[in-house]
Each structure stands twice: as structure tokens, then as C-alpha cells.
């Protein structure tokens, strides 16, 4: 490298060196806004290697050589969760796949100085170049408070930029500091309890033997972190058993003298920060924002109105994803059909056209069709987050959700799963506890999503009588409602059971209720776009591949049409050709109808001979205890790509062109299908019920699996999810069908 070769000018090293800047801060301090201001639109969203924590980075606008990394929000450097651990590891350069940081920008909510400086002073103690951003200065001023920023900067020994990030105030100053010469950190002056201080000095000497490159200040700061945190200490058990033992010994010694070392830092730091806050603050009144917040909260968190408003908002969001998105989805659907039509006319008939249209374009369509729902859901979720309502919803619902082992944060994702599990799983990102988040993701697909609706509609329409029994309420509506309730109840039960099997630190609940703020439309917009991008790129790839595989399964092996059908084809085509134009319109129309019917018969025959038809027959013995014959079984196999596919697949099997869930022809076929041996009706209401129960519970959606894989960063949980849900579905259908038979309902 350059350093070992004296002839290489050192300037080239500087020219290629990327400055790495991390943005740290408490949640709700405005970190994301500062990050967006610095990086503009060029952002990369990925994951830290091996974990599910999101990694957001970009470059300073106009400076490709300055990388900006948005760290997860954290209240202290005493990590309690996976994302806080990442923040700690990033700041202390413990991440194996990341280069060390050059500069830290710590975003501080100036309206809540004392508590926000807790983290800031912990970072300063590490002795890294640090810039403090005092954000939300407008709210401070509105509250009649004046902060002595120069004094604060002197006390902390770090440059301070006052900002109103939402209005870009102070952005230029921050930009100049970020690209300017690195500040040299000063020393914070708070005192540790003497006994703990001595222990820390001893540990710092031990650490020096392992890593001599660190400064004494940094060593002391890290030793304090390790002394206080089991999470951080665990890391040393393998890295240096002797240091691990030294820390254990130090803890034991302090315990034996009954020194509460765990509290030493909090007490020492806060008593110093309390003085600092008093010295730099000129007047102290409750901020205006807080008063407005209290007034809003007295309604939004009211004993009666609170839950009512919450439910209404939830219905609104639900309605948006459920029905407002429909016109856009239809539009996309029409666009896909149009594209398919164009490709069909341009390309010669044959395998390439089939692959492109039925495989590739249909596959892309399966992905893009979800986009409107995702955009709508994330518009509302970002809006709620941006205004501060999201925390309130968790506050209202925590008690209910805790009963089943979830927490308040699970409410929004679970409710949005009624529309679609894919955006719902993406929405769990706002949850703090990794364990609660995993649990929520695992049960989300049990909520009846909109893709189940076509299946519900088809089978309810065909087998449940349309009669009403109480006012406008009929058996069909009641069945539909019961299916939704059934899915929800199973989701709650599954959560309670799974909670016992998933190990992990018992989560604790601590939620900040930030003041209400006007929404930041830009941030709302960017969150929406970001989620859409993640979905299209990450999940899209997997869905795409599965769709093409499914197409191959339904198309190959190519079946040789039976001679009977072939000869009918030839007969109809010859007669059509012999009739001259305009001569016998009625006969031509008749023949064309016949041709269409032949096409349908042919594709039904093809389906039967295809890999999927073959599979359907193969699993028939397994499925027949549930009341499903090979045709339904083949339909279920296709539905594992996406549930609604079964409607079209059954249409193909029963040779009805363009069948949809409203198709009367398909309903009649299902009602009248006969067992070839006994001649009795093949599908009874009991079979329909069994199938419906199967669809409520089974995880038949490659998109869900793909997004779960992306969010949980491994195939382990999606596989577990698929196995437990499909097992549950089989069991429940078995009970319904066999139980029904025993009761003589067959």
C-alpha cells in the first residue's frame, strides 16, 4: 500500500479515502430528517450482515467521498436490543464488515436537553471526533427558552450546530462542519463513584494488554460500558477469556462491597448533566408544543374517545388498502394484460411467447400488483409516525395485545394484514423488541388478507345458501365474517403458543410519547418510496422466480392431444375455412364458439397431463381425507404461489375460459361435478367448508415468504412459518371434514 512505498505521494491516499460519518441520536430527535438533508435522494437501504437491522447510507450531496450512515436510534450506549447493539458496535468500530468511523454527528432534541445529552456525553467519552446537532431549536424558542450554545459547546468540548431540520435551518453550517477538518474531542467532566472508578482503571489496564491502540480515555469508556452490560460482556467470553474473567471478578468485588455499580454511571452522569442543563438554559417553561400535545392527548387518549378514534382511523387505513387501492390495482392489471397482448401479437406463437406472457409478464404482474396497497399503507403509517400518533396507538392497545403475548406495537401491522401480509410484515420495522417483532411476523399471515377474498367468494357463492336469517344478514355474509374471525383468533392463539417456544430476552415495554408535530410530507413521501423500492427489488426477485417455476409446472410436460379432440379441431377448422366471408354468419359464430370450447378442453387436458396435474394426483391420497380430489389438490398446489391463482386454475381444470370468482359457469361446474365412480356430487358444502378452512390457515403466498425472508434475513423462519401454518391448515380441515362426515353432513 501507499504507506509502505515512500515514492507514492500521500495525497493520492487522501483523494481516495472515504470519510465515514455516522448519525446517532435518540429516537424522535429528528435523525432521519438530518440524514435525508445531508444525503438528498441518493440512499442505499440494506441490512447489516447477519442481522435484521436496517442499514441506511448515502453520500453527502456533492461529495461522493463522504459517506453518511444513519444509525438506529438509541437512548444510550448500553444496548438492550439488536438495533441498539448495532448502533453501539458501529460507533465503537466493532462491526467486522464495516470500516471504522471518522466522525459522529449526534442529533440532540433541544427541547429535552438533559435526557438527550445522556447519549451524546457517552459518545463524547469515547474520544471520537463528534459534532452535536441541537435540533428543534424553533420549539425551544417558542417555549420561551434561551440556550447558551457557546457555553454548552465549551462544556462538552465539541462543536454544536443549532438546527431546525424540518426547515433546513442550520444545514449549511452542518455541511461545512461535516466536510471540514475533524474536530478534536474534549473531555466531559462527570464523576464516577470512587470504588467503581478504581475498578474501571484496573479493567482499562487489562484492556491495554489486549488492544494497545486505543487511547486511555477510550479504554476507560469501553470498560465502563462492558462492566454495565451483560450483552457487551458476552462478546469477550470468546475474544479474551482472561478479560472476561477480570470483568466478572470486578463485578463480584463491587457486589461484595454492596456498591450498586449498575447505577453509578446513570447517577454520576445525570447529576452532571442536570447542572449543565441548568447552566446553559436561561428560562424554563413548558414548551408550547407540549401544551398543545396535552390538549390533543386529552381527546386522543380519552378513556372512551381514544379507542373509538383509534378504531375509526384503523378502519380508514383498512378501507384505503382494501378498496381505494383497487382502481390502481385494476389499472396495473389492465396494463399487464395490454402488455401481454402486445407481446402476443409481436412474437410468433410458441414457447417463447408463452414463457414471456404466462411466465415472465404474469410473474412481474404478481409483484407490481401489490404496489398500490404498499404505497397506501405506508403513506398512512409514515403519517402516523411523523405526527406522533403511532406511539399513542401502541399506548392504547398494549394491554389487549399483551394478553396474547404481543405488544402494543403489533396492532398496526396485524390490522393491515387484513389487506395484505406483505406490507404488514414490512410495517413491523417500527417495533423495538426483536422478539415481539418476530412473533408478530410469524402470525401475520393468519389474518385473512384480500387475496383470500376471491377464494372465499367463489366457494361461499357456490355452496352456501344465499338466504337471509336476520334482517339483511344472510348465511353467506355470516360465513365470510366467521372466516375472518377464525383467522384472527387462530393468530392470537398461535402468538400465545409461539411466545413460549421462542427464546430471547424478555422484552420490556418503554415507549416515548413524543409531542404531536405537523407531518413532514417529504419524510412521509420518502418512507413510502423506500418501502416500495425494497419490496420491488428484494421480494420481487423471489416472487418472479416462483411465478416462472409455476408456469413451467403447469405447461410441461407438453401433452399430446387425444385424437378425438384433434379430429374435432380439424373438422371445425376445415369447415370455417370453407365458408366464405359474409356467407353464413350464424354458422361461423357457432363454429367459433365450438373452437373456443375446444381450446378450453385442450387446456384442461394439458393441465391434467402437466407436472402440476400429476402432482395433484400424487397428493390426492393425502388430501382425500380432507375431502379434496385431484382437481382441488392441483388447484391448491397452484395456490401456493398466490392464493387467488386457484380460481383461475380451477377455471382451467374445468375448461372455462377467463373464469373469475363471480363466474356463474364455474360455480355451476363446482356444484355439479360428479364422482366418476359413484356418480354422486363431488363437492358438497362440507368439502367447501373444509377447503375454506384450509385457505384461512395455510400459508399459500410466495410474496409473504419472500418478504419474511427479506425482513428476518434468513430462510429459517419463513420455513417454520410455512410448516406450522400448512400443518395447522391440514389438521383443521381434517377435523372439519371427518367431523362433518361423522355427523352425517356429507
Amino acid at each position: 500500500m501507499a504507506s509502505s512505498d515512500p515514492s507514492t505521494p500521500t495525497t493520492t491516499v487522501h483523494a481516495t479515502k472515504v470519510r465515514r460519518v455516522a448519525i446517532a441520536g435518540n429516537p424522535n430527535a429528528g435523525k432521519s430528517t438530518v440524514f435525508n438533508l445531508l444525503t438528498g435522494l441518493k440512499q442505499k437501504v440494506g441490512n447489516y450482515s447477519g442481522v435484521t437491522v436496517e442499514r441506511k447510507s448515502g453520500t453527502l450531496v456533492g461529495h461522493e467521498d463522504i459517506e453518511i450512515i444513519d444509525l438506529p436510534g438509541t437512548y444510550s450506549l448500553n444496548p438492550k436490543s439488536e438495533d441498539e447493539q448495532i448502533a453501539y458496535d458501529a460507533i465503537t468500530s466493532h462491526l467486522p464488515d464495516e470500516d471504522p468511523l471518522d466522525l459522529i454527528v449526534c442529533v440532540v432534541n433541544a427541547t429535552n436537553l438533559e435526557r438527550n445529552l445522556y447519549l451524546a456525553s457517552q459518545i463524547l467519552d469515547l474520544g471520537l471526533p463528534t459534532i452535536i446537532v441541537l435540533n428543534m431549536m424553533d420549539e425551544v424558542e417558542a417555549g420561551g427558552t434561551v440556550l447558551d450554545i457557546r457555553l454548552l459547546s465549551d462544556i462538552l468540548g465539541a462543536p454544536i450546530v443549532p438546527m431546525v431540520a424540518t426547515r433546513k435551518q442550520g444545514l449549511e453550517d452542518l455541511r461545512n462542519l461535516v466536510k471540514g477538518s475533524l474536530p478534536s474531542p474534549g473531555a466531559t467532566r462527570w464523576r464516577l463513584d470512587e470504588e467503581v472508578g478504581t475498578a474501571i482503571l484496573g479493567l482499562a489496564d487489562e484492556l491495554k494488554k489486549i488492544d494497545g491502540s486505543l487511547t486511555q480515555k477510550r479504554r476507560e469508556a469501553e470498560c465502563l460500558r462492558i462492566l454495565n452490560s451483560d450483552r457487551l460482556l458476552d462478546y469477550w467470553e470468546t475474544r479474551s477469556p482472561s478479560f472476561f474473567k477480570s470483568v466478572k471478578d470486578a463485578r463480584e468485588e463491587l457486589d461484595s462491597k454492596s456498591v450498586a455499580y449498575g447505577q453509578a454511571e446513570v447517577r454520576g452522569r445525570y447529576s452532571w448533566l442536570g447542572q449543565v442543563a441548568r447552566r446553559v438554559t436561561k428560562t424554563q417553561e413548558a414548551a408550547e408544543a407540549r401544551k398543545l400535545t396535552d390538549r390533543l392527548d386529552s381527546v386522543l387518549l380519552h378513556r372512551i374517545w381514544g379507542p373509538v378514534i383509534f378504531v375509526v382511523l384503523l378502519l380508514l387505513v383498512f378501507q384505503a388498502i382494501f378498496s381505494w387501492a383497487t382502481p390502481f390495482m385494476d389499472l396495473i392489471d389492465a396494463g399487464i394484460s395490454l402488455l401481454a397482448g402486445v407481446v402476443r401479437t409481436v412474437l410468433p406463437e410458441g414457447m417463447l411467447a408463452d414463457l414471456l406472457v404466462d411466465g415472465v409478464i404474469a410473474g412481474v404482474g404478481n409483484v407490481v400488483i401489490f404496489l398500490p396497497q404498499i404505497l397506501f399503507l405506508f403513506f398512512f403509517l409514515s403519517l402516523m409516525e411523523s405526527t406522533g400518533y403511532m406511539a399513542r396507538s401502541a399506548f392504547i392497545m398494549d394491554r389487549v395485545m399483551r394478553r396474547v403475548g404481543l405488544s402494543g406495537g403489533s396492532v398496526m401491522p396485524m390490522m393491515s394484514a387484513f389487506a395484505c401480509a406483505v406490507p404488514a410484515i414490512m410495517a413491523t420495522r417500527t417495533m423495538k423488541s426483536q422478539r415481539d417483532r418476530l412473533l408478530t411476523i410469524l402470525v401475520i399471515p393468519l389474518m385473512s388478507c384480500s387475496a383470500r377474498l376471491p377464494v372465499y367468494t367463489l366457494f361461499i357463492g357456490a355452496f352456501i345458501p344465499a338466504a337471509t336469517f336476520f334482517g339483511p344478514i344472510g348465511y353467506q355474509g355470516l360465513t365470510m365474517f366467521s372466516l375472518y374471525i377464525f383467522g384472527t383468533v387462530v393468530a392470537f392463539v398461535a402468538a400465545a403458543v409461539l411466545k413460549k417456544t421462542i427464546s430471547g430476552p424478555e422484552s420490556f415495554f418503554m415507549l416515548e410519547l413524543p409531542p404531536y408535530r405537523a407531518p413532514q410530507w417529504k419524510l412521509v413521501f420518502w418512507r413510502m418510496v423506500e418501502r416500495a423500492k425494497i419490496f420491488l427489488i428484494r421480494a420481487g426477485r423471489i416472487i418472479f422466480v416462483f411465478s416462472i417455476l409455476l408456469w413451467f409446472g403447469a405447461t410441461y410436460p407438453k401433452a399430446e392431444l387425444p385424437t378425438e379432440i384433434q379430429s374435432r379441431y380439424t373438422a371445425v377448422e376445415t369447415e370455417l375455412a370453407s365458408l366464405s366471408d359474409g356467407n353464413d354468419d350464424a354458422r361461423v359464430a357457432q363454429l367459433e364458439d365450438e373452437l373456443l370450447e375446444l381450446d378450453n378442453t385442450a387446456s384442461a387436458y394439458q393441465m391434467e397431463q402437466s407436472a402440476i396435474g400429476y402432482l395433484g394426483k400424487m397428493i390426492e391420497p393425502v388430501m382425500s381425507p380432507l375431502g379434496f380430489d385431484w382437481k382441488l389438490s392441483a388447484g391448491i398446489i397452484t395456490a401456493f404461489a398466490a392464493r387467488e391463482v386457484i380460481v383461475g386454475a380451477l377455471g382451467t381444470i374445468y375448461s372455462i375460459a377467463d373464469a373469475d370468482e363471480e363466474s356463474l359457469a364455474l360455480r355451476e361446474h363446482l356444484q355439479n361435478a360428479k364422482d366418476p365412480e359413484t356418480g354422486r356430487n363431488l363437492y358438497t358444502p362440507l368439502v367447501a367448508l373444509s377447503l375454506l378452512v384450509f385457505f384461512v390457515l395455510a400459508l399459500q403466498c410466495t410474496s409473504t415468504l419472500a418478504i419474511a425472508k427479506r425482513e428476518l434475513n434468513s430462510w429459517k423462519w419463513p420455513v417454520i412459518m410455512w410448516v406450522y401454518m400448512t400443518g395447522l391448515a391440514y389438521l383443521a380441515s381434517l377435523i372439519v371434514y371427518q367431523g362433518g362426515l361423522a355427523l352425517g353432513w356429507g
Partner: protein, 72 residues
């Protein structure tokens, strides 16, 4: 008296802590000697919203029983 027993709108001072409660609450500023106010109770009675160091945080009643206070 423990924090869960404090009525909404009333202030108190934290006196001491029971073992086994997360030190995160302390890092949020709920440490001995600090003023706390119970601002409101969730519609279903749990959790409660407390104000500490000019900031509102929601904590569950089960955790609040671990925090001893004296009314001021």
C-alpha cells in the same frame, strides 16, 4: 408508595428501586431524586404515561410497582 399508585396529575419524587427492573428506565431519567408526574392512564388502565425530565414515557403498571416514590 410505588409509582403505579400515584394518581394522574400528581407529582412525586423517586426514592428507590427494586431489583430486577431494567436500567433503561433509569437511563430515561427515572432515577432516585427525580420528579415524576403521572400524566394520564391508558384507556384500558394500563400502561401509564409519566412525565420525567420534560418528556413523556409510557410504562406498564407491573414495572411501575418496582419504582418507589414519595409524594411531594
Amino acid at each position: 408508595m410505588t409509582l403505579d399508585q400515584l394518581e394522574p396529575g400528581r407529582c412525586a419524587r423517586v426514592t428507590c428501586w427494586c431489583d430486577g427492573i431494567s436500567d433503561r428506565f433509569m437511563e430515561m431519567g427515572l432515577l432516585p431524586g427525580t420528579e415524576v408526574e403521572v400524566v394520564r392512564v391508558a384507556p384500558l388502565g394500563d400502561p401509564i404515561a409519566v412525565k420525567v425530565k420534560n418528556c413523556q414515557i409510557a410504562i406498564r403498571r407491573a414495572d411501575a410497582t418496582q419504582i418507589n416514590i414519595e409524594a411531594s
